[in-house]
Symmetry: C2
Subunit: 404 residues, 2 copies
Amino acid sequence: MDLFRAYVIADALAILRDHVRLETPAERVGLREAFQRTLAEDVFAPEDVPAFDRATMDGYAVRAQDTFGASEGLPAYLDVAGEVLMGQAPRGRLEAGQAFRIATGGMLPQGADAVVMVEYTEELDERTIGVVRPVAPGENIIRRGDDLASGTLLLPRGHRLRSQDVGLLAAAGVNTVLTRRPPRVGIITTGDEVVPVDRTPGPGQVRDVNSYTLSGQVREYGGEPVMYGIIGDDFETLAAVVRRALDETEAVLISGGSSVGRRDVTAAVVASLGSPGVLFHGLAVRPGKPTIGAVIGHKLVLGLPGHPVSAMVVFSLLGRPLLDPGFRRFPVRARITRALSSPAGKEDWVRVRLDWGEGGELIADPIAGKSGLIATMVRADGLARIPLESRGVAAGDEVEVIPF
Amino acid sequence: MDLFRAYVIADALAILRDHVRLETPAERVGLREAFQRTLAEDVFAPEDVPAFDRATMDGYAVRAQDTFGASEGLPAYLDVAGEVLMGQAPRGRLEAGQAFRIATGGMLPQGADAVVMVEYTEELDERTIGVVRPVAPGENIIRRGDDLASGTLLLPRGHRLRSQDVGLLAAAGVNTVLTRRPPRVGIITTGDEVVPVDRTPGPGQVRDVNSYTLSGQVREYGGEPVMYGIIGDDFETLAAVVRRALDETEAVLISGGSSVGRRDVTAAVVASLGSPGVLFHGLAVRPGKPTIGAVIGHKLVLGLPGHPVSAMVVFSLLGRPLLDPGFRRFPVRARITRALSSPAGKEDWVRVRLDWGEGGELIADPIAGKSGLIATMVRADGLARIPLESRGVAAGDEVEVIPF
């Protein structure tokens, strides 16, 4: 840990990525349960798809050479010798000078190597068509194995399955896949002054907001939240709970008050648990300065700020890519409506509301309000980043916004 | 239905929005189950938050006027008459010339109207501090009800609860909320040639991919998929299944082959079921041309193309905003790597892979491959739109991409 370095989010993430491996047991599941799970194996195509050459247009299966030179003025005349019915193999083989009626998806008869679109034919009688435009071999057909050749890598180990990925596995005839159980994430709220939501806070007390916001985030990022309740500011008690959470889960979030004393207890507890231990203590990030990043074994331990907004922002920026390593963030660009100053040496993540301007361009309106107030996150659509070296932005400047 | 108009996605959405109301029964649920559900009621703050004036900094609670004129050279000397303990009400009232030690979040004692940060004080002895900088009334404190005043609208009916929304309700002391059950979406695959995933397709047959991709999308968009299996190309059978699905769900997706005959069966079935019935049949959209949009009562019926890619693209563009009306799409801008031509009179949605260019800008690489192939969706990160009136884009042009 380099105490003199100002860590921004990208640094913190790189440090944690070097040590964190959220390994969960592998389970073989059916395709219907596989959605949004992570693959624990490389998956290869077990067979060719399609398993036969097929038409990609409605029309006539032909030998391409029989259509060479065909034109409106001089059509190529072909015998309609058969029809390919959907879901059935063609009857017989296509010979020179013949055509088979075929619909999109139909299996190409032996002897055919192209499909003439119905638009480029004229029906002369029941048994004869005129082709008014030539086709090349392979035109309007898809060959056996063109979609997926047997043995092709379909999806790599570690990939989190989206709708289209499950669709690909279905198309390939893969019925079950080895997946990882979603990572369990322990959530611990600390603070003598924190009370459960169903209790009316007495003087100096606040309700436990973080366990709700963080468990929602964990679910959104593909994990399974495990609640460890509200723990007072006591080293032994907190250490015992964190130890239990580390036994039972793959990652532990400890959100605590922002006072110096509180942070020291959390840091001391984390430092006492094992190696590599605390990797950074404090970030050059606003909000999120008092964040503690640690790894015990390969398990992630994040000491998050007590303020709900700060905890949400830091967990979104650090936790999401760690829980879901394949997740890719694509910021949108928007014009900011007001000037914002930012101290040099701080990376600012400003809550903004996104809207469409009169010219159809995106505009980002910074949310006013005290930083600890969760209502500011409710009004926001995303976070605009003001980099470490920047002193701020002027009204009308373009900023990059990460939508929630 | 205006048969002469070329409907693009925005038109189709506007037409459907006029008629669709996915009303599901309301259920009162606890806050832990409320995540990602839609509110069936306006929710108001039941009490002031905070319920008392509190410190937002570590330091000393004071009467601001006692610090006026204070400076490094001429500190204001105050008696430390007490300490506010976290989670407890202050003991006694603060009198003129006094200060109480207080930590962030602590309850302000009666008589105090500001907090001096500890950095701007010097401890002279156990009972006396010097304040070296004045504070204004209200400085470093938050007043009762400043976060949420009792009676404020917290979240409106129809809002889908994100992590921060649940956090806001927790902060306000709202324990249960009236939410709508997620909309059920019936999924019907049609086609004599379609076989279940666990069967090896015979000649001319294909596996049922759409029921997997569409059910994943339904879950992602906040609905609950209900599977109705694979139905052959027969009017009576299909009509019976669609009628049952309309009884049991709030929306029905019928994906079918792209051949003209198949579409006619689906359209005829949908037209036979009730009013307002079929609202459009065919879109000026690629992929997605053979889409049927219909509403029966207030329930949505979409006839989707049989090709898995087309079905996914159309359902993503039309189904998502209908299932999740508060969902807001923010396209990213990226430079396209290759020229693409687009027939005028077609709105094209091109699958692209997004990556970072050398200058740190986003680049969009169109995915090559036959359009029906689901593997192209697997390689893609989003859809770039080429508008109706455009003839295409040149390499290096900026395009708008909707990430998946």
